[in-house]
């Protein structure tokens, strides 16, 4: 979507009114919700699931789930936080169920796919290759974190959310979020300090 149109939508979006219309049967209005949040949710889900097809399935499931539970949404938090919460919980459930059966070789291939699509820049091929290997290593370490550590790390570093927002999304106390974040950071640092 054109970024100007996206901005206009975000500025003029009366979420309460749109949600009310959707609940009253105007399902087409749900497209506005998708337009506003889909890119953010896609980025988030892609950090949990590296295969694009699997990620797309999850993204669709998340939005359908949001649609079906929308009548229960009481605006006690913002709609964005609510959508993030549904998405993060869905990703955590999915990762937990699939972690054991996930083949490590496949996982590596997924990382490789993701990093191979990076456009070339002014760096030499050797430097680029080295950088991409470091990125792949970081993503692999992130994948070994516990599901909550992973979720907290992704929301903090890749989505740039504040501790308070993360606590609200994952439904944890701020102190617990900080503890998860600290442990995740220490693990990652231990793995990456040789190469960074």
């Amino acid at each position: 979507m054109n970024s100007e149109i996206q901005t206009v939508i975000e500025d003029t979006f009366d979420e309460k009114e749109i949600v009310r219309q959707i609940i009253n049967g105007n399902e087409d209005k749900f497209a506005l919700i998708i337009d506003k949040y889909q890119r953010k949710i896609t980025k988030l889900v892609s950090k949990f699931v590296y295969d694009e097809n699997e990620a797309d399935d999850i993204i669709q499931e998340v939005f359908i789930k949001i649609y079906t539970i929308l009548p229960k949404f009481k605006f006690e938090s913002s709609l964005g936080t609510y959508i993030y919460r549904v998405a993060v919980n869905h990703c955590i459930d999915y990762s937990t169920k699939n972690k054991k059966r996930k083949n490590k070789l496949k996982l590596f291939t997924d990382y490789e796919q993701q990093i191979n699509s990076i456009p070339s820049n002014e760096k030499s091929p050797e430097q680029q290759w080295e950088n991409e290997m470091i990125k792949a290593r970081l993503l692999r370490v992130v994948d070994t974190l516990s599901e909550k550590q992973k979720a907290v790390f992704i929301l903090k570093y890749f989505d740039g959310l504040q501790i308070k927002e993360i606590a609200e999304i994952i439904n944890l106390k701020e102190g617990t979020v900080k503890t998860h974040l600290n442990r995740a950071y220490v693990k990652i640092r231990k793995e990456l300090k040789e190469v960074l």
Binding site: E27, Q38, I59, I64, S117, K148, K173, T179, L192, L196
Partner: protein, 219 residues
């Protein structure tokens, strides 16, 4: 050391930024559009199902019908709930007595007998050191997590209590990690013998106190 840390942080930030930029380039408008159409089609399909048709217009009617039909069930449920609360409170009192006996003199109330629980001073020290180090590590968040320990005077048992203020169900994962870490430390420290050490909780977290107990396979 500080310079190294700063350098690491700087490179780490660059790495994260690089991955974020990569995200923006990887998510095409075409992909977003396809997903959007697919979501909207699935929603249409959901709404076309006979059981979902007119569900919104009939919502009020359904609520009334449901309330009328379920009134007797609600009354029965309330009665059961009241009885359950009474039974639960009695169970808690019983557990609290167990906790007192564990931290004091005997261990008769647990499923494991004293003979099952074999642990020496070094191992007590290990558990305590671990928990103390956890305490130091979480000092910054001491308002949320306060870790304390105590040891049993009984020579054959060792228990370490972790007082977790504001302990809630979502902390469950952390507790499992703590148990596993303590087990790893004990097994590493005793790698010369054939015993396999396990660490388990013997009290639930209802009173914000988690008690760890270590035992081995030798018995």
């Amino acid at each position: 050391m500080v310079a190294n840390n700063n350098l690491y942080d700087e490179k780490f930030t660059q790495l994260i930024d690089s991955i974020k930029n990569n995200d923006n380039e990887n998510i095409s408008d075409e992909r977003l559009y396809k997903n959007k159409i697919s979501i909207l089609n699935k929603i249409k399909h959901i709404n076309e199902k006979p059981e979902n048709q007119n569900r919104l217009s009939e919502k009020e009617h359904n609520v009334k019908t449901f309330l009328l039909k379920s009134l007797p069930m609600v009354a029965v449920f309330a009665l059961i709930l009241t009885l359950s609360i009474v039974v639960y409170n009695r169970t808690i009192s019983s557990h609290q007595q167990k906790a007192i006996s564990l931290s004091g003199e005997s261990n008769n109330n647990t499923n494991k007998t004293n003979e099952d629980v074999v642990i020496n001073d070094n191992e007590i020290e290990t558990v305590i050191t671990y928990i103390s180090s956890m305490n130091a590590a979480t000092e910054e968040y001491e308002d949320d997590v306060a870790l304390n320990w105590y040891e049993n005077n009984n020579e054959q048992t060792a228990v370490a209590g972790i007082k977790l203020d504001n302990l809630s169900l979502e902390s469950k994962y952390d507790i499992e990690e703590i148990l596993k870490d303590v087990e790893d430390v004990l097994n590493k420290q005793n790698s010369n013998d054939d015993d396999k050490y396990y660490v388990d909780t013997i009290l639930s977290d209802y009173d914000s106190t988690l008690t760890l107990i270590s035992y081995n396979t030798n018995n």
